[in-house]
Structure formats: C-alpha cells, structure tokens
Subunit: 385 residues, 2 copies
C-alpha cells in the first residue's frame, strides 16, 4: 500500500525478474526470505544476514504475539529497531502456526482461539487482532488471517474453509485501512488441492486489488507434483503486475521449479533448520557433515562458496564442531546454507535477465541430482520453534 510498489522488469517463459519497493528498501525478485521466527534468524546477526545476501526477512506474527508481545515490540520502536534489521520485513498472519503449533484450537467466525505453546495461556487471534499485531510490529508487508487446511481435505470442507478465509480477508482489509501502517497487505490464496476452489480463491482475492498475492496452503503434506501443479495454476491466474509469494517453500530445486512457474518470493526454514541438523546444501546436492567420511577432509564445505564457513574452515573442523555439539557449528552451517539459497536466487535473476532461464534450470537440476521432484512433500513449516 503506501510506500509499496512492484515493477516487473522482464520475463523469460513464465519466470519473472522484478523489483519490490518498501519503506525499508527494495528487493530484487525472485527473492528468498530467511525466516526470523522470533525476531532473529536463528544464530545470526543482521550483519551475518547482509553478508549472506539477504534483502528481506520474514518474522512470525504468532511467535512475536506470544513472546515478547507486540506491545513490547511497538514500545521499543518496532520490529526493525528491536531486532537491529533495517531492511524490509514481511510478517505472516499466524494462521499457519496456530494450525501447526498450538493446542485446543477453536476456529469460529470471530477468529481462532488457542492455547499458547509458550505458557498455555488462552489467546484469540481474530482478523482484526492479526492486523493490529502486524501494525504494531511495523512490518513492511503483512498478511490477513487465513485458515490453513490439512491435506487431504474434502471438497466441502475446503470450500467452507475458503469461504471463511475470504470473509476474514474483508475484515482484515478494513482493519488495515483503518490502521496507521505504511505497510502493504498481501492476499493469501487458499483453496486446498481443489482446482476449482483455487480458481475461485484467486478470482475473489484479486478482485480486492491488493498489493501482492501469496499462495498459501501448500507444502502441507501434498505430493510434490500436486504442489507444482497448484503453484502453476495459481501463478498463471494471478495479475502480472503484482508480486507472487509461495509460502513456506522449499528445497533448492523447489525454488527453481517455482520460479519457472512464475513465483517471485519465497520463505522456508529448510536452509536454517537443516543447517542445525548438519545438512549443507551445495550445487552438487546436499551433504550431511556428521558423516564419517568427512572426519579428515581438509576441503571446504563447498569449494564454490565464498561464505565465512567455506573460506575459513575444513569439513573436518565443521564435522568436529557438530560431533562436539558446539554452538559455532549451527551458526556456520546456517551462514553457508543461506548463502547458498541467496546465491541461487541471484543466479536465477541473472538467468532471467539474460533470457537463459530454461538452460539454467536444466543445468541446475541435473547437477543437483534431483530425484526428489516426485517425492512426497514433507511439511517444513514456516516458523522455527
């Protein structure tokens, strides 16, 4: 909304090169957002994020609502100042976390009642409080409360859920217009795995003329071909002149496949969470640093990477840190994985700019050794608890 803009610079097939403008700077798209669940990308400082190439981060409304509380963040000058990050911030609606993390959910017309996973207190997230929280945080891009459905779901329950999400959207839009935020409100396209309902969701959401559109309710357990097909369907229906954000996706090859289908924006905990489990991404596919074969390996994690972990340390040392459960291990692999993800986005932007996205995609997938395109999709969640 105020202060927000998007320009499409170039397309190459369905892949798009663009630029989003926010009050805290612009974002070249396609872009990947590291996840700062509780107001910190786990183990990293803002300068680590800049060094890795981050342009924007995602923070979780649900987590910050529960701890430290949005009023505390507002009192301390907003989330940018609180977490020391002066670049753009996007917040999600909290709907996904209520669904995946909290107990005793009760969903009704008014909103969602749930118990906090932090202290067990009873909380209500309504469309209005959802917007109020995100305004208090001062995010540059915010999202309306939506209902996230498990996969699979019947057509009837998917339609009932979509109806509720669309009614909530109208209340969120009103609350946003009545508020004082300078941020942009994106719509979230739900509709489960039902093609007709996805079409309806795109149509009714876009009719509101929002600043951008998120594709929600994917990466929740559906097979990967279903995810790709629904992404392609939605992206193909969304307006050309607005950014398209695929929520909670994904692995490196998912990003490539989704950019190929017209997606501009991503977030996922996979690079950061998997780093803390010892998985490092490389152009030749992922490796698990705790593997015994690295015990005396003097090579860097990834010879092509210029991150701090790869410049300074051997696989043998990184493995030692992991085996010894040293805190530095988590930080170094997080730095590496985010550098890998963010460099991949840079490479994709360059490929689109040069009109060579199709060969880039084929080359990347071939080298990465993707046998997992048809894999059943795990649920990576879009917050780090």
């Amino acid at each position: 909304m105020r202060g927000f803009g998007f320009e499409l610079a170039k397309t190459d097939g369905a892949a798009r090169l663009g630029r989003m403008r926010t009050a805290h700077g612009h974002i070249e798209t396609p872009a990947f957002m590291p996840v700062a669940t509780q107001g910190t990308v786990k183990s990293l400082t803002p300068s680590d994020l800049r060094a890795a190439g981050a342009q924007i981060v995602l923070a979780n409304t649900y987590h910050l609502f529960l701890r430290p509380g949005h009023e505390v963040v507002r009192e301390l000058g907003g989330l940018h100042r609180f977490m020391g990050w002066d670049g753009p911030i996007l917040t999600d609606s909290g709907g996904f976390q209520v669904w995946s993390l909290s107990r005793l959910r009760k969903i009704g017309e008014h909103g969602v009642e749930f118990r906090s996973h932090v202290d067990g207190s009873r909380r209500l997230l309504s469309p209005e409080t959802c917007i109020e929280i995100q305004h208090a945080l001062g995010a540059d891009i915010i999202h309306p409360l939506d209902e996230c459905l498990a996969y699979p779901a019947t057509e009837a329950s998917t339609e009932r859920s979509l109806d509720l999400t669309l009614r909530w959207l109208l209340r969120c839009l009103a609350a946003h217009r009545n508020g004082e935020s300078g941020g942009a409100l994106f719509g979230i396209v739900q509709g489960g795995a039902d093609e007709r309902l996805r079409r309806r969701a795109v149509e009714e959401t876009c009719a509101l003329g929002l600043d951008g559109y998120a594709i929600g309710g994917l990466a929740v357990g559906e097979p990967k071909p279903v995810m790709y097909a629904l992404t392609e369907l939605c992206a193909g229906l969304l307006p050309r002149d607005r950014p398209r954000y695929l929520m909670g996706v994904g692995k490196p090859h998912d990003l490539v496949e989704s950019v190929a289908r017209g997606v501009d924006l991503f977030d996922c905990v996979i690079p950061t969470r998997n780093a803390r489990n010892g998985q490092a991404f490389t152009a030749d596919g992922p490796l698990v640093i705790t593997h015994g074969r690295f015990a005396r390996d003097p090579a860097p994690l990834d010879a092509e990477c210029g991150c701090e972990a790869c410049r300074l340390f051997s696989r043998a040392y990184l493995r030692h840190l992991f085996m010894a459960r040293e805190l530095l291990a988590y930080r170094l692999l997080t730095i590496h994985n985010l550098t890998f993800y963010l460099s991949l986005m840079t490479d994709m932007r360059r490929a689109v700019a040069e009109g060579s996205f199709a060969p880039f995609r084929a080359r990347f997938l071939g080298r990465y050794g993707v046998e997992s395109v048809g894999d059943s999709n795990e649920s990576p969640a879009s917050s780090e608890a």
Copy 2:
C-alpha cells in the same frame, strides 16, 4: 623455548607490564585468554575473537586428545589451521580435566588412566603422551602433566602429589626437548594450600629454567583469601624475567587483585560460560539479563561498551532472545563478556604503564561493588564441556 620470549617493560608496585613473543605473534601482558576448549571459543568465530580484543586463546589438551584426536588435528595442519586462528595458542596439560571430568581415574607413576567422558573408552595420559599431544596440536605454549589436588588436602598427601608432579615435570621436559615443537614449555607450580610446599614447588620448578611459570591448583574450592595469599606468595617467589600464569582465574575483580600481586596471564571460562547462563559483566557489576526488569529496557547491556551486542541491541531484545532460548543470545553475551574482560586487561596495562595501578584498582573495585573478595571460591573449571 625456540621462538618464545618475554620482556618485562615496567612495574607498578607488584603489577607488571610486559610482552610475550611467540611464533604466532606477541601478547601484551597482563593478558586474559578466552577458553577454546574443543578448538572453538563457544559460539564465536576467530574474527569475533579479534574484534573482542583477544591476543591468545587457550585450548584443552584433554578434550582435543579425546575428540577429534591430536593425530587428526596434526594431519589437518595443526590446531591453528584447524580452528582458523592464526594468533598464539596455549594448551594446558589435561591434568585438571582428568581430575574434574573423567571417571575411574587411576593415578600412578606412569601417568593417569581414565575413562573418556566422550565414549567411555579407557585412555592413558602419561607425561610423554601429554607432551606428544601438545606437540601434535602445535601450540605455542604447552604445559607438563601435573596432578591437581582437591581442597582441602592433608600435608602428607599434598607433598606426595607435589613429588609426583615434579617427577613428571622432568619426564615432560625430556620429552619436549626430544620433540620437534617450536613451542615454549611452562612449569606448573603446585603444592596445594601449604605454604612450605608452594615454596618448595617454586624452587624446584624454577631450577629447571623454563620459559614461564603457571600457578596451578588454585580456584579449586579454597576460600578466596587463601587463593589471593597463595597467588601473592608464588608470584613473589617466581623469577622477574619470566611470565606468570594463574590458571583458571577468575572473576573480574580476581583479575585485578591478581595483577596487583604480580600475575601476567589468565584464563577462565567465567566470561563465556556465564554469558550462556545470561550473566553479563559491566563496570558496575554483573547483571542477569533474564531479570523481568529488563523486559522493556531500551538501553544497551552496558552503555560504555562498544561491542556488537551493545552497539546494536537493547537489553529488552537480549532478554527476549534468552527467554526464547535463541542461539544468538549466547553469542551476543559471549561477545560482550569477552569484550569486557579484554578491555579490563587493556585498562590494567594502561594503568601500569602510567604508574597509576593502585588508584585504578581502588576505583574499579569500588565501582564494581566487590563484596565477594572474601567469598568462598566456586570452582569455575578451566574447560568448557
């Protein structure tokens, strides 16, 4: 030994200003060594250490012997290269860790048999293997195997233990001379809390003309006045022209009190371990960041500190990170505490240089609010498990 040297530049009362030379650079003394137990100062990179003002780090022979093994470290080019730290490294003998961490210790003339705390395997640390391990690591300053006694101990058992430590020292010295290390060998003065035995320990250890002298067996549970008295006694007897290292000490006021008694070199896990428990050191005394009164405090941890944690973040944010058990919390407080300790050493060096150490000491202790000078001494240990 080869490549090692020490020059005393100035004294002010018993306090000393000096410089140690090693093959990996020099160290202005009095100096404090951050503890890199397993080849990493917990949560920090080498560049973090440099930024905090570290000149030299301590690594633990015991830990690196057990994991990843000194042969692995040697094969990967030595500890400096392994951990990416090109400054000086001091290693301890492992004697203290065998005493404090391992089970089923059996001490005999040949050395110490124990079970690894990592995998339960049976290991032997003899005077010769102790030196061999430290040579393999490539440390700049190494230590002989010694026996560490619990406090209190009888005179007879203290004397038996000292005799063993002195016999082991001769074997260590022979092993060191036969080895190919360019590092310096320090002697360790034991003798428990017995003044006569401490005198004997200093005399017989110094008779060997070693590169420097460590005061060991303190900070093991004795009352603080006893620790100060024994430090003063030993430092007063040690040769002027060799560095004096007080092992495993201590809190900020302990450093000031010990420099006042003629100590040049310190190591302790307190700044790093306490950081991970939420304790931050300031000139006005320590604070515990998880305290509720910091929940909305926009001030930095320490307004006088220029570290990354104090430059960028509020107490409220740091408290939030701690309450949420975020990894970044441990790193930021570690950076702050080490910056505080290392700045304190800089201040002390300046005070000695200016001949104003006595007023500096009075001012520091007054402001720090030390009521704990007479406290019973906890055992901080000199490794971080």
